[in-house]
């Protein structure tokens, strides 16, 4: 990026800046006319100067101008105007005034919008440029760059710069013009007074910026300190586990507290300084009128200065300070923003960035097979220690290669060199006659895949993560509103942003050898099965949600499968395992809330305890006269809970797992109970709501407090329709109601199949139900659909919603689905136990039949299965061909039937 902010702004927005400037200048005459009109209205129309010679009418809208004396004088009339009377002139001039007000405000509106849009466009460009540079950080720079600091820079620090851009050129031009006009006017009236004003202005413009230099230094400090604060908060959050483990709360609190104190101190200094400068500035601007009065007055009294001139000078001077003040403010802002800009560009200094990654059209792209040769390879570690010293080797590809280094990181570094993760080595590595270092990024990205020990996942679905490597460029355009698309493209062009839309078709199906999303999903699932994640995907599918719009066919089949499952339960004597949802019967295995709603809450206001606060729900149960019964239930629950959970320390796991009442709420409920025990019959509204919330989570079969009798159950069932009616009448869309003939998209797929709740009181029910569900899914051939829904499962921030093994599996499949010529595995199997790692390795051997596999091994134990062994030790590389690779399973014939079951949570 340009070193100077102004050059950056000028380079990218000169056309817009000039145009806005032009419009601003164009607007000035209108502005002056509108300032002049009130005088005319008073003088000409009201005081009647236009009619002073006894004229009955005066010209209105007369257009003309006088030639100055030195051009010979005289006047030119363009339009002689309409002859109107006094009232006519008054109304006419007033309407003209209104017209100019509108025109002026129109100009102002346009200029403000244009400045705002210009600023936003530049901000967009700047943020994008910065992000593009983020992608170019060198590995060395990445060791010191903090992610949260970079995020603050791109998000917050450039924001004020964007606000300034619109004013960068226009403000000084406009204000400078205004100030010099006023100054010129003073000069014309009296040169000496003019020079005096000029002198004070010169003083202001030299002293104030000097005093503000300290302010800038402080501003710089503040920016760095707040950036570091953001960085520190990010670090603590990322490493929160260590904070918990080592009980470092006090330290971290003190650390942040100190930083905040530092920030406060800087801020305090800034305030003191800032307002001192402001004081001086105001003082200096008031000194000039003082001089005018004192000196000018003196000369006037002495008779050397005309009083009229003095008054004119003083009134002209009134026009001077506001633009000057704004100009000085603008200058301050300019320096401020320039400092910010410098800080930003320093963070993205050229030496921290790698070369530009320019996508080139159609590079030569051939499989990386044939010979792999390394010549004079030298590689040093992070401490300058020699890892590989002038080593050469060659081998033929495709091959299965083991990289072994008996404990040292040398093999892993060799793998990273091959994966182009370590660019600074000397020597040459070639595939045939193509140099590894010279391979274009697109070819390397497509032909080489690297799975390291730390699987990096992005938030999103498992599918999104798996196909991450297939999204190199848009393969086709999506249907987009043409006008909207044209606008999007035009804006992208104006702000130097990319033209590709993320709604385009990015996934390269052809590379995977499939033709559409469905086939791709099938490939993904089969790959996941190879790396031991098939069952997890199935279980994710069971807890996943179905979108009836997207999965229309599946939704219909599920309703069929639902009734088949019910029949199966009935015919196998398992009817007591699941209590189905029945509109006319109370479900003992469900909560009271679910029984009342007979549906699944979608929005937060109907979930959990919030339900008790919802006015529509409350009015329905009030109408059904259930409120008192539920409150009584709440009282009983509160009594039992306070009795049995008393004495457990707050935060005890049993609280979270079993209690209706959190440990911190216990005293409040105890207080409610005490008040009642003392004989208070009426409860406060708030206490009633709290009590009412308790029974909503009560499940008779699970909690067994014996609070529900048949009569109450019957009344709850009868209230269902009332609740539904009330909610529907209030257009509440927060609940999706159960319907035996339809899919409930708010409930997980498994619940949709069961359409009921598993009986808490039958031993081993969950396991048996899971098996029955698996049987029905197989029978209806729904396995693939379920697994596809499993692919929608969210992985969470950094994949934290997955287990380490699942993360590793996703990482491997993300590599495999690209069908790389060279697959490099560097510790990616570490999370698996030995047995599973062995199975996965076999699966990789099978899958990468025609491709090369490089795998870092900690020791020789598994090496026999590879074709070639590369040993890296003491700086030397020894390659060794395995005579006949052993331990590789023969090609499996038919795929073994896989079992799907798993516990239903």
């Amino acid at each position: 990026m340009e070193k100077s902010l102004f050059r950056y702004i000028w380079t990218h927005s000169k056309r817009d800046q000039l145009f806005i400037c032009f419009v601003v200048l164009l607007s000035q005459p209108f502005y002056f006319i509108s300032l002049d009109l009130p005088r005319q209205i008073v003088n000409q129309a009201i005081q009647g100067e236009a009619f002073k010679d006894g004229n009955v009418t005066a010209p209105f809208l007369e257009l003309g101008f006088d030639w100055p004396q030195w051009l010979g004088g005289g006047s030119v009339q363009i339009f002689e105007g309409f002859q109107v009377g006094r009232i006519g002139l008054l109304i006419g001039l007033s309407c003209l005034f209104l017209f100019f007000v509108v025109v002026n405000n129109g100009f102002k509106y346009w200029v403000n919008v244009s400045k705002g849009v210009l600023g936003e466009r530049m901000l967009r460009r700047m943020r994008f440029d910065l992000f593009a540079m983020v992608l170019r950080f060198t590995p060395e720079a990445l060791r010191t760059v903090k992610s949260s600091e970079t995020a603050t820079i791109i998000k917050d620090e450039v924001e004020p710069i964007g606000g300034f851009i619109g004013d960068a050129f226009i403000t000084p031009v406009l204000l400078g013009l205004q100030a010099s006009t006023a100054l010129f006017f003073i000069m014309v009236q009296n040169v000496w007074l003019g020079l005096m004003a000029l002198g004070v202005i010169a003083l202001q413009f030299t002293i104030i910026p000097r005093l503000r230099r300290e302010l800038l230094r402080l501003g710089k400090q503040r920016q760095l300190a707040s950036r570091e604060l953001a960085g520190r908060i990010g670090e603590v959050l990322d490493g929160i586990e260590v904070v918990h483990v080592h009980n470092a709360y006090a330290w971290e609190r003190a650390e942040i507290g100190n930083r905040l104190f530092g920030l406060f101190n800087i801020r305090l200094k800034i305030y003191n300084r800032k307002f001192a400068v402001k004081f001086l500035n105001n003082f200096l601007s008031q000194v000039t009128p003082f001089l005018f009065y004192a000196v000018g007055g003196y000369f006037a009294l002495r008779g050397t200065l005309d009083i009229g001139q003095l008054v004119a000078v003083i009134s002209a001077y009134r026009e001077l300070p506001p633009p000057l003040k704004e100009l000085i403010d603008w200058d301050q802002q300019r320096l401020d923003v320039q400092v910010k800009y410098d800080q930003v560009t320093q963070h993205f200094a050229e030496e921290r960035l790698g070369p530009m990654i320019e996508p080139k059209e159609e590079e030569e792209d051939a499989p990386l097979v044939g010979s792999l040769t390394a010549e004079n390879l030298c590689l040093s570690g992070s401490h300058g220690d020699t890892i590989i010293d002038n080593a050469s080797f060659s081998l033929g590809l495709p091959a299965k290669v083991a990289l072994i280094s008996n404990g040292s990181p040398a093999a892993s570094m060799m793998a990273r060199v091959l994966a182009r993760r370590i660019p600074n080595f000397s020597g040459r590595i070639c595939f045939g006659d193509r140099d590894l270092a010279q391979l274009p990024a697109s070819v390397a990205g497509r032909r080489i895949a690297y799975a390291g020990v730390d699987p990096i996942l992005f938030p999103g679905s498992i599918r999104d993560n798996l196909i991450y490597g297939l999204r190199t460029k848009p393969m086709g355009q999506s249907e987009e509103d043409r006008r909207e698309a044209a606008r999007r493209l035009a804006e992208a062009a104006r702000s130097g942003n990319p033209f590709e839309s993320i709604s385009d078709q990015w996934v390269d199906y052809r590379r995977v050898g499939v033709k559409d999303e469905q086939e791709l999903d099938r490939v993904l699932v089969s790959l996941l099965e190879r790396v031991e994640m098939g069952e997890a995907i199935y279980l994710f599918g069971l807890v996943g949600r179905i979108d009836p719009e997207r999965h229309t066919a599946l939704a219909e089949r599920l309703v069929e499968a639902r009734s088949r499952l019910r029949e199966n339960f009935r015919s196998n004597g398992m009817a007591d395992l699941v209590e189905p949802f029945d509109l006319d019967r109370y479900n003992d295995q469900s909560t009271v809330a679910e029984n009342l709603l007979f549906g699944v809450p979608v929005s937060g206001e109907f979930m959990g305890r919030n339900l008790a606060l919802n006015p529509q729900f409350r009015s329905a149960i009030d109408k059904a006269e259930l409120t008192d019964d539920l409150t009584t239930m709440g009282l009983q629950i509160a009594e039992t809970m306070t009795e049995i959970f008393q004495g457990l320390p707050p935060g005890h796991p049993l609280f979270a797992q079993f209690s209706f009442i959190g440990a911190d709420e216990l005293p409040e409920f105890q207080a409610i109970l005490r008040r009642r025990a003392r004989g208070a019959t009426d409860l406060k509204q708030e206490a009633r709501t709290r009590l009412l919330a308790l029974p909503l989570a009560y499940i008779e079969a699970r909690h067994r407090l014996g609070l529900l009798d048949d009569d109450l159950k019957k009344r709850i069932v009868e209230t269902r329709s009332l609740v539904r009616e009330t909610l529907e009448k209030g257009f509440a869309t927060g609940v999706e109601f159960y319907d035996p003939e339809r899919i409930c998209s708010a409930a997980p797929l498994r619940d949709n199949l069961l359409f009921g709740r598993v009986n808490y009181q039958v031993a081993d029910a969950r396991h048996r139900v899971a098996e029955a569900i698996a049987a029905v899914i197989r029978e209806f051939d729904l396995l693939e659909d379920v697994e596809r829904i499993g692919l929608d499962h969210e992985v969470g921030t950094a994949g934290r919603l997955l287990s380490p093994q699942e993360r590793a599996s996703v990482n491997l499949v993300r590599c495999l689905v690209k069908r790389p010529d060279i697959m490099i595995i560097d510790g990616a199997l570490a999370p698996f136990d030995e047995e599973r790692a062995e199975r996965i390795l076999q699966a990789l051997f099978d899958y990468l039949d025609q491709q090369s596999l490089f795998m870092v091994l900690p020791n020789d134990r598994q090496a026999a299965a590879f074709d070639v062994q590369i040993r890296v030790s003491d700086g030397r590389i020894v390659t060794e061909k395995t005579a006949g690779p052993q331990g590789r399973a023969p090609k499996p014939g038919a795929e073994a039937a896989q079992s799907v079951a798993g516990e239903v949570a």
């Binding site: 049995i644 008393q646 004495g647 320390p649 067994r704 407090l705 039958v762 031993a763």
Partner: protein, 148 residues
Amino acid sequence: MTLETEVQSLRQVPMFRDIDPARLKLLAFTSERVQFATGQRFFSQGDPSDAAYVLLDGRASVLLNTPNGEIQVAELSSNALVGEMGILSDTPRSATIMAAEPTTALRIDKRVFLELLAQFPQMSLAVMRELAQRLERTNAQLVAQSSS
């Protein structure tokens, strides 16, 4: 049957006899009531010990694996506690328990039970007392056997 009746049953178990009613209620509340059909196994010999059971209703047989197949060595009826040794000593199940008729039991989860013992010394003492008494009885039986 409600929590109260379960507490009554727990009170009949020697190990829990001296425990506060509130604690017994907590124990009952944090346990699950499960029904076993005739012939359904609570657990099998060799399984990892994950829970203890208190029979509330019905009968269950204690079976041991022998070279000649499973043989019944005892029968349990209401208010019997079974499986507690396994969760205390963290060893696999030493016998199989099978419902002899439709049986209802209270399933006390191992983790929850140990949490409660760790939290309430009174409960730990009651368990220790019961175990000590069992040891004493066994010793007495051994003495009786060796002297006969």
